[in-house]
């Protein structure tokens, strides 16, 4: 990649893919083939018809990739849609991200929203926005703060799983920041250490389980400890 150059689109245009050092799209850009670059920036609107591989990506506008995406670092402040698989090692989502297939990487920080049709696999998954995951959400540490709306995942599995409701408008009172505090809706949660608030789940399984206020759980299976808030609803509890 000695003679890789930059691709800067100011205005509108359609370009072939290839190796680039930096791709910057300020107007409306179309990229027809695979691209491999070290910096990918979109301030306007972009569409990549095939795969994108990059070291860092920053999406402030709108980006659509029809194929797979691979990035070491990804920052989305605008909107991004990915038609295939996404490997985003370190991602920060302040806007929205939609992935048709699975999404995986190392650390995920979500303050906006994500919508994934497949599985989501991270080492550290930290969400204070919202998510809708049709598959399994799996991470070593899962931290979810329900600040705005509802979140949904078919299954959640991992080491340490913490779900908390959002912060208060006025500290030490029960007046929530939004009108109605959000709920996490999932079928199963499996982890070693689990703490839940505002969660509706069919089955919760873990070693140490703590059920906080606002929970509706069908079945809790625990190995060492179970403690629950009197305001939580648990239909059945079993110790394994």
């Amino acid at each position: 990649m000695k003679n890789s150059s930059n691709l800067i689109i100011n205005g509108s245009g359609s370009y072939p893919g290839g190796h680039y050092e930096k791709i910057s799209i300020r107007g409306e850009g179309n990229i027809v083939n695979d691209i491999d670059c070290s910096i990918f920036r979109v301030y306007g609107t972009s569409e990549a018809r095939e795969n994108v591989k990059t070291r860092t990506a920053k999406i402030l506008g709108e980006a659509e990739v029809k194929g797979n995406v691979e990035a070491k670092e990804m920052l989305v402040m605008g909107t991004m849609t990915i038609g295939g698989k996404a490997k985003l090692e370190k991602m920060r989502i302040f806007g929205t991200l939609e992935v048709e297939d699975s999404l995986y990487g190392d650390t995920a920080i979500i303050k906006g929203g994500i919508k994934v049709k497949g599985n989501v696999e991270y080492e550290k998954f930290d969400s204070s926005g919202g998510f809708e995951i049709k598959g399994l959400l799996s991470a070593d540490t899962v931290k979810i703060v329900m600040s705005y709306g509802d979140s949904f995942a078919e299954e959640i599995g991992g080491g340490k799983i913490t779900v908390k409701k959002g912060s208060w408008l006025i500290p030490f009172t029960n007046i929530s920041l939004s009108k109605r505090s959000g709920y996490l809706d999932t079928k199963t949660i499996e982890g070693d250490e689990i703490y839940l608030e505002n969660t509706k789940a069919g089955i919760v399984r873990g070693n140490k389980v703590e059920i906080g206020p606002g929970c509706e759980i069908g079945l809790v299976e625990y190995r060492t400890d179970l403690s629950h808030d009197p305001r939580a609803i648990i239909k059945t509890k079993t110790k394994i």
Binding site: E123, S138, G157, T188, G191
Partner: protein, 242 residues
Amino acid sequence: MSYELRIYPVNKILQFFFTCVTLLCYAVIQKGVMTMSEELISKKDLLELAGISYGQLYRWKRKDLIPEEWFVRKSTFTGQETFFPKEKILERIIKIQTMKENLSLDELADMFSPNIKNMEFEKDELIKRNIVSTTVMNFYMENEKGGQKFNILRMLEIFVLEKLLQSGDINLDEAKTVLEVLKANTQSIQQKSCDILITRKLGVSSCFLLVNAEDIYVEKGTKIVSQVSLMTSMEELKAKLL
């Protein structure tokens, strides 16, 4: 309250009965259609049996140490549950547990990826990659009389011979015995953790293959010339190949 109490067990018994019948029918059908039916184990039982935690299981899944196909979803009366093919998963977990002390999870993932098992190398390629020396290669070809292509098993054999011969622990005659032992026990070598042990007493040497052995004790006057773990040799070999 009493009404509820009375009705509940009946309900459960019925449910259980139906599940049994369904399962039986299913088993009968399966037997007819498929010759090989694998025994399945539920996730909960697996964790208990293997002594691992959810976190570990999910971590290994994330690292692709456990293939996605092994996660079999089935509906039970608590909802959907995940099952695993019992033998395969237990074997894999034991492997991961024994090897993870020396290797990182990423390295393990490479090792379990199927492409390496089907990898074949030419004779010259192995010499070029410094995996075997020309002398050992010639010795091996002379005694084994196989083709030019090396699969993973033959590579392991030659790699072990190379290690033993290069260290100067054994001579060529002993190397022949080692090769014979390795050839005769390919089945166990592939599946279990094995060690090659070479002893010498009063100038007479013998070669053993230890399968799942923890400790060995030899009589006085017998000298353990060399002990090589095939499992670690395999790891080293794979590391060199990748």
